[in-house]
Symmetry: C2
Subunit: 232 residues, 2 copies
């Protein structure tokens, strides 16, 4: 754990930084999603290093960018020696997402159509909603989050960017919200992470230019060496 | 140094694997270039860790994919705390390359128009030619490689994928060829690396699916944990 001060972003700040990376710096979604997903897999590998104990990790993929990060994460987990499964109930019709899924399929990552029983999985990776989420949780994700909630006492839950179902700024609005054991904040933590009480909080997405950090007056912990994650 | 057996690819094998990654696995150039460039920066950070001693690294960028890897590498080096400079004499007109360069420029990486004097740089990163190279070395790269050759006794040279100017299979064809201190082979080493006598040989580009390794009967050293490079 580092003790240095860390900034927490509002939803608008997170959106602004994201837009600036794409519009001003001309990063492609492919590029940043690859780095984000890699950092998620790296954090999981750090916290849940025992391949035998945590081999079967279920990645639950949402329909937006958070889901894309999840697909990339699943692929890197496979390369790291895990045996991920993907549950992707609401597929995105964009070419990038189709290709990310195809890459997983061709690497023999099993795509399943429901959450398996608790005996069949060792980790759950929540890649459902990210910092862009607002409003009502629609089906099938409302039901899926209820299923995750039931499993969370038995299986470690890892959320990408924010715990799905949480308000991006206000955190868990009620007791039905999931309480992940691990969160990988991407770019910078969002305000909701002040309410996080799990075991592991990582920062990933090591692509924010120093100039952008200064412009938005955000303080981030120092990454070590060439590492793509840092524990907060 | 690992002692396990490692495969060395012919130029045709390297091209076939590359094509399969793009055509069958539907990886985008953005994705694989990001991972390749990141692995190069990670290897440099491993071998030349002293930021003060090696701060000023000159990245010499060629007109093809090897050059693109170099641009990505420069950006990650900047994020790792180095102070890279870019020399990019023959620019590629494709949007991806323009964007990769813009990302560097916006991150205050200086773009220069000739190789600076030896007192102004601590490392030279050769991102000129990769595994696709064949035939005559044309200007301006013929002259540039001569300049690098003169500097190689004083400044460590790091080549991305293969030492530029070497035959991809037969290695250095004459004494004018550069002799880098470090090479980061991408995907798998090429046959020319059997003639490498420098200090550091890394493998990077950790994106080759196990199925593809088996199909091409290639043996690669095991990457550790979530690391993007492994020393050979």
């Amino acid at each position: 754990m580092t003790t240095s001060k860390v900034s927490y972003l509002t939803q608008q700040q997170a959106k602004d930084i994201d837009e600036e990376l794409f519009n001003e710096y001309k990063f492609s979604v492919d590029q940043l999603m690859e780095l984000a997903g890699l950092s998620c897999a790296s954090a999981i590998e750090k916290a849940y290093n025992d391949r035998k104990k945590y081999s079967k990790c279920l990645v639950i993929v949402g329909g937006g960018n958070n889901g894309g990060d999840g697909l990339v994460c699943a692929r890197h987990l496979k390369l790291f020696g895990y045996n991920p499964l993907i549950f992707y109930p609401k597929r995105t019709d964009k070419p990038l997402y189709k290709n990310l899924l195809l890459q997983c399929e061709k690497m023999n990552i099993e795509i399943i159509d429901k959450i398996p029983s608790e005996t069949q999985i060792n980790l759950i990776i929540d890649a459902i909603f990210g910092f862009g989420f607002s409003g009502e949780i629609r089906e099938p994700f409302n039901g899926i989050l209820k299923e995750i909630k039931i499993l969370e006492k038995k299986i470690p839950i890892i959320s990408i960017d924010i715990p799905s179902g949480w308000d991006v700024e206000k955190g868990p609005l009620n007791d039905n919200c999931i309480q992940p054991e691990c969160v990988i904040s991407l770019t910078a933590p969002k305000l909701c992470m002040k309410y996080f009480q799990g075991k592991y909080h990582f920062l990933g997405g090591r692509f924010v230019p120093k100039i952008l950090e200064d412009k938005y007056k955000i303080i981030l912990p120092d990454y070590m060496n060439s590492e793509q994650i840092v524990q907060i």
